[in-house]
């Protein structure tokens, strides 16, 4: 198992390298640079600045220097937040995004699995159809439509929740962003759980469990839930990626100073190092989380584990 994990980690390195190279090329290919502005600089000054930030070097050299810094754990200075290194910025913003993402994921799993299970148990009834209809809308309506509607209803009309990211609101300011982020995932997970649960409930060992007089709740909880979760677990990989990318939009809409917001700002500001740093970070994060998912798979399905 250890060997397997190690091999997976090593195998991720070429992927990461490719991602970094592509991101580097793309961000430099975009017109403009980090120091462009309407208040254009006089030629001398501009030259000095380029030299000071080493943007006058040929691209391959810049890339090589970036990589050598990366290996040492140095993601470089930010071109836009000039007093901070990229690592510091990511370190400051990430916990917030992590909180947001983790809560959204947790909410999505809990609500999604419950909804899917209920729908599966009540297959064919109105309840089943209603749950599935809701999930369909959750998937179809984009985040940037849902978010303002939620804000309008819950914040402006009902005044139950704060409209934006205010520092005095405490935990309640997380509610709308987390819900917005979780909504499409709830929908996917509900559908996935339902299909998987229906499949599992049709299996022979469920019939055995029922024949043992265990009652529906026990049958679901003890026997059906774990295997039904396997497809959901496999989905976690893409789901995490979706939450990570979705959080970018949600943070922008709600004005949350998380990593997603920094990402957008960095791209618009042509802050090369910050963009690359966040890309690397996200890529590594997704690889790591996928690895954890694989390990969890083994925890649920003993046949995989005992290979």
């Amino acid at each position: 198992m250890l060997r397997y994990t190690l091999l997976r980690v090593l195998g991720a390195i070429p992927t990461l390298l490719l991602v970094i190279a592509l991101a580097f090329l793309m961000v430099h290919a975009a017109p403009g640079g980090p120091f462009d502005d309407e208040r254009a600089l006089p030629a001398d000054v501009a030259a000095n600045i380029e030299r000071a930030y080493r943007l006058d070097e040929p691209l391959p050299r810049q890339f090589a220097r970036y990589l050598s810094g990366l290996v040492r754990g140095d993601l470089g200075p930010s071109y836009r937040y000039r007093d901070y290194t990229v690592s510091e910025l990511i370190g400051a913003a990430f916990p917030l995004s992590l909180q947001l993402g983790a809560m959204a994921m947790a909410l999505a799993i809990v609500v999604g699995v419950c909804a899917g299970t209920v729908a599966a148990l009540q297959q064919g009834t109105y309840l089943d159809r209603t749950v599935m209809a809701f999930s369909m809308t959750g998937i179809s309506i984009p985040v940037f439509v849902v978010a303002p509607v939620l804000v309008l209803f819950f914040a402006v009309k009902l005044h139950w929740l704060p409209a934006g990211w205010s520092s005095s609101a405490g935990a309640s300011r997380m509610v709308l962003p987390v819900i917005t982020l979780a909504l499409p995932q709830i929908a996917y997970i509900a559908r996935l759980t339902r299909a998987s649960m229906i499949d599992v409930l049709g299996r022979d060992f469920i019939r055995t469990a029922r024949a043992q007089g265990l009652g529906t709740l026990t049958v679901v909880r003890l026997h059906a839930l774990k295997p039904a979760m396997l497809p959901v677990l496999s989905y976690m990989g893409p789901a995490i990626a979706a939450i990570v990318t979705g959080s970018v939009v949600v943070e922008e809409i709600f004005g949350i100073p998380g990593l997603g917001q920094f990402f957008i700002r960095a791209a618009l500001n042509r802050d090369y190092t910050l963009v690359l740093g966040i890309v690397v970070f996200y890529a590594a994060l997704i690889v790591l989380l996928n690895l954890i998912v694989d390990v969890l798979y083994g925890a649920i399905d003993p046949r995989v584990r005992y290979r």
């Binding site: 060992f205 029922r210 024949a211 007089g213 009652g215 026997h223 774990k226 290979r307």
Partner: protein, 584 residues
């Protein structure tokens, strides 16, 4: 008052009745057998008793269990009855047990649910039950996962789960069909030991099992009860034609074969063939070890063995579907070597293969016409489509199917019809050797008889040689000229049909023969001849691989592998073959 009284029970799906006005009763402590062919409604009845039918089923009639009405009872009522009053053992324990939970965990929940024990006592009772069903080291098995247990052990666990709440009625739905025959004998014996005064409803298609273990017998045909009565009476004088049909069609281990020995020329030789596979990691799994056999034209050689015997691997190696590790196979003077893609067409044409599950062996997207015609396209491309159509029709006729089957899809065929199509596909090329890998194992009695008959006819008409792989010794006795017995990939005994079944030379062969249930209710069932199960192929026992299960094993058997030697017309691999007399 009877324990269970079923009156006019009907189970319908969309207006089609799978069980029609069924009425019977079971008294306390009684053992009743429920027999019928597939589709006769046996399993449906069992499920109905426990309220486990799917939602689409509409159930009418009455099921009174100890006074309580079960048809349209509430889930709570049924839950109180399940396991606690009526237990059930299903057919396939690998499917019936939850692969994601440890064995002990699954069992203890029953005690918890029905409030039969508390605290530490729960686990103890589970372990005790596991011991009672014959699991050695029950405490360790408590923590095992189902896939870590052998087939027999799993079924014992199932039995434990069915009996742990001490029900009044135990239902066995084909409980031994998926098991090796020697393990089946053990389980059936265990069933007798362990059920005490629990009534037994044993559902099976095997009349030998009914004869040995059921006082009374119910016969179903297409959902209707056609015959009922004491087992001995019904066997002696069956009331209904269907019962007679079943009795006649059942292959009997105690009936000698009427075949005359084959005299054709030798066409196939297999010499010292070994086949091994790469298992997880770098371990080698030895599937076949140093097996030799020969085949003549017009001869049927049966290869017999239980799971892990290597029967399928051997023929697959012969056909080039898996690589041979060592040894050689020769057909008509030319070697059979290399993967099947590289082999000469003639060889591929002359050696044909039929599998156990006919429906999945046929391409579901193709019609019968194309399925059979496909081989002609490959091997005789020069044929005009007209000629091809004629050949296909002829092949269908040979297997007893009319032209109306040409346009059908596999899912529109019954099991028997599908197997016939598979045979037609194999025979249309006029092969010299036909290999049947458990070809009739999935077929019901009468259908099986018909398929076997047409195989024999093809053999008589064309001099076809048949290699017949089977675990069913009764069928083997009926149709083979010679028998090859394999155990864990090794050759154990080769002999002609009559001598093998009257005086087997190897203890394993004797065990196999004794394990087969005899459809004769007057004779008491034999004690399970062999203990234990087939050992793991990854870690075979030293010396003679059979020694852990052998009643005659001595020190030499544990250390030295016996070589196959000739012994009065048979080949046997046993140190003590000439000392033991195992005549039947």
């Amino acid at each position: 008052m009877s324990l269970l009284k079923v009156s006019e029970l009907s189970i319908r799906y969309n207006k089609t009745a799978v069980v029609d006005a069924l009425s019977f009763s079971i008294n306390r402590g009684e053992s009743v057998g429920l027999v019928g062919e597939s589709g006769s409604g046996k399993s449906q009845t069992a499920l109905a008793l426990l309220g486990l039918l799917p939602q689409q089923a509409s159930v009418t009639g009455s099921i009174r269990f100890d006074g309580t009405e079960l048809v349209s009872a509430s889930e709570q009522t049924l839950d109180r009855i399940r396991a606690r009053r009526i237990g059930i053992v299903f057919q396939d324990p690998m499917q019936a047990l939850n692969p994601y939970l440890r064995v002990g965990r699954q069992l203890r929940e029953i005690l918890v649910r029905h409030k039969l024990a508390h605290g530490a006592e729960i686990d103890e009772r589970v372990i005790e039950m596991l011991g009672r069903v014959g699991l050695s080291d029950a405490r360790r098995q408590f923590h095992a996962y189902p896939h870590q247990l052998s087939g027999g052990m799993r079924q014992r666990v199932m039995l434990a789960s069915a009996l742990i709440a001490e029900p009044d009625l135990l239902i066995g739905d084909e409980p031994t069909t998926a098991l090796d025959v020697t393990v089946q004998a053990q389980i059936l014996e265990l069933l007798e030991e362990v059920r005490d005064d629990t009534a037994l409803l044993l559902i099976t298609h095997d009349l030998g099992v009914v004869a040995g273990h059921c006082e009374r017998m119910l016969v179903l045909e297409k959902g209707r009860l056609v015959d009922a009565g004491a087992t001995t009476s019904l066997f002696a004088s069956p009331g209904h034609a269907h019962t007679r049909l079943l009795l006649d069609a059942a292959p009997r281990i105690d009936r000698a074969s009427s075949l005359s020995p084959a005299t054709g020329a030798s066409i196939l030789g297999i010499e010292a063939v070994s086949v091994s596979y790469k298992a997880f990691g770098n371990e080698q799994l030895q599937a076949v070890y140093d097996v030799s056999l020969s085949l003549r034209s017009g001869e049927t050689v049966a290869i017999v063995g239980e799971s892990g015997s290597g029967k399928s691997s051997l023929v697959r190696a012969m056909l080039g579907l898996v690589p041979m590790r060592s040894g050689r196979a020769v057909y008509a003077g030319a070697p059979l070597e290399g993967p099947v893609e590289h082999r000469v067409k003639a060889q591929r044409r002359d050696l044909q293969l039929i599998f156990q599950d006919p429906v999945s062996a046929l391409n579901p997207h193709m019609r019968v016409q194309s399925i059979i015609g496909e081989s002609l396209l490959v091997h005789e491309p020069g044929l005009s489509s007209q000629a091809r159509r004629e050949r296909v029709a002829a092949a269908l006729g040979q297997v007893g199917l009319g032209d109306e089957y040409l346009g059908r899809y596999p899912h529109e065929l019954s099991g028997g019809q599908a197997q016939r199509v598979a045979i037609a596909r194999a025979l249309v090329l006029g092969p010299k050797i036909l290999i049947c890998d458990e070809a009739v194992a999935a077929l019901d009695g009468s259908v099986r008889e018909q398929v076997l008959a047409l195989l024999l006819k093809a053999q008589q008409d064309t001099g076809l040689a048949i290699i017949f792989i089977s675990h069913d010794l009764a069928v083997v006795r009926a149709i083979s000229h010679r028998v090859v017995v394999l155990y864990m990939g090794r050759l154990v005994e080769v002999a002609d049909n009559a001598p093998l079944f009257s005086r087997p030379r190897h203890p394993y062969t004797r065990g196999l023969i004794d394990a087969v249930p005899v459809p004769n209710p007057v004779v008491a069932p034999k004690k399970a001849p062999l203990r234990g199960e087939v050992s793991s192929l990854l870690d075979p026992p030293s010396g003679c691989v059979f020694h852990p299960r052998c009643n005659y094993a001595t020190e030499i058997c544990k250390s030295k592998l016996p070589a196959a030697r000739n012994l009065r017309g048979a080949r046997v691999a046993c140190h003590h073959a000439d000392e033991i007399d195992m005549s039947l």
